[in-house]
Symmetry: C2
Subunit: 254 residues, 2 copies
């Protein structure tokens, strides 16, 4: 069983879209998958067609009382994975939880039992290196980094790596498991140049599969459906299928 944290503090690089794309493809492949929405924006929850305002429980309560475990907050989705959703309550929680003892360990503690019910757990992080992202990193086995082929995202890697180094105090084996280049428009030469720079620096960590800019991926969240259901023949859906196949090979599955 593997816990992956989708983290990159640069905003809008495809963290949520990749958590959803890979998560649903893993479930379609027959694996037991849990997705966790750790972003107060609740984008992952919305993208699965779930209205955060109608939920009984959420990840906020899981963090608030980690020794009670996480099972009570799990909801099934219509697309295969289970979900621990986020609601608005999460928005003010970072400062509230900041004063707690062991504040970086809350999520990992809550997942102690829950994680063994799944083959994969994917955690969608907010665009920051604050308490929620650190909780995701402490709970994770590896980090999957979605990286837009833009300058600001490329320049964000060193800061991400130094945060990972700090988190190793609580999670010694944590490392970057893979980097996925996202939103690539083949017509844009700057995308090519930046993709090359990423491959040069990070070598085999970078997945061969690249996620193209595909308008269906902009539309799918409006329908509350993952790309594999909204537009299964689209370039976006194909790319996430290919990426998931590659990921399964890396983790020695199938």
């Amino acid at each position: 069983m593997t816990v992956l944290a989708l983290t990159m503090q640069k905003g809008g690089v495809g963290k949520t879209t990749t958590t959803l794309g890979v998560g649903t493809e893993l479930a379609q492949a027959g694996l037991r998958v849990l997705l966790i929405d750790l972003d107060p924006q609740s984008n992952l929850t919305m993208a699965l067609g779930i209205n955060p305002e109608e939920l009984q429980h959420s990840v906020y309560e899981v963090l608030l009382n980690p020794t009670a475990g996480a099972d009570f907050a799990i909801v099934p989705t219509a697309y295969g994975p289970d979900l621990i959703p986020a609601t608005l309550e999460l928005a003010g929680a970072e400062l509230t939880l900041a004063g707690r003892f062991g504040r970086e360990l809350l999520l990992r503690t809550a997942l102690t039992e829950t994680r063994y019910n799944y083959d994969f757990v994917l955690i969608d992080s907010p665009p920051s290196l604050g308490l929620f992202t650190v909780n995701a990193m402490v709970a994770a086995d590896e980090i999957l980094v979605p990286l837009q082929a833009h300058v600001f995202a490329r320049k964000a890697m060193p800061q991400l790596e130094s945060t990972i180094a700090l988190v190793r105090q609580s999670n010694p084996l944590l490392q970057i498991g893979g980097i996925v280049v996202t939103m690539v428009d083949r017509r844009t030469s700057v995308n090519q140049l930046i993709e090359e720079s990423i491959r040069e620096t990070y070598g085999d960590l970078v997945y061969a599969t690249v996620i193209p800019f595909n308008v269906r991926l902009v539309e799918a969240p409006a329908a509350g459906q993952p790309i594999s259901r909204y537009a299964p023949d689209s370039a976006g859906a194909r790319a996430y299928r290919d990426l998931t196949q590659e990921l399964l090979q890396r983790y020695g599955i199938k």
Copy 2:
């Protein structure tokens, strides 16, 4: 003199690009402009061709000791506006500053004198509603919201509005001064639909000028130049010129 906070918790919507685009156009129009980089990613600082690692002072020190004012941390840029830059130190500061008395008022206090040396102060916020963004909102007269015409960004507006309502406890006159629709690709029907929805809900608050998706705006940060210098004849540069003209009309200047 007007202080504008560029805030939107959804990541990657064009906050930094708009702070820079409008800031440099205001300076070109002969106005005295101060930009403040309040994002630990230091993207605004980098986009102005400044290396955060070479700086003596930064916004972190301004927040740490607000009664010393902000002038000491101001650096000139090659493009007109002055800048209070961000450095890596800012990354850990949110949790450190969270315990301070009056933690939401730090930036406003620091700008008490400094603000009167400028016609416009623009503050670039990180993609969150945490302490830095709240500091920007408390210090601001109005909020300028860059809004990508995507579902997740559109759905982020209510949460932003409720945060503004909370901040009014410290800044009673705070309101949204304007909304700018960004990264619009005329070929993408979902962009049109979402832009229409934004205009329907927010009416005159939404600027007539729309910022198109323009690859020059992806390239410019790599050159460390604002769009008005990197590609003055591009659609991106034209759009920020038009937007700034519209903004000046709203504020009754020229």
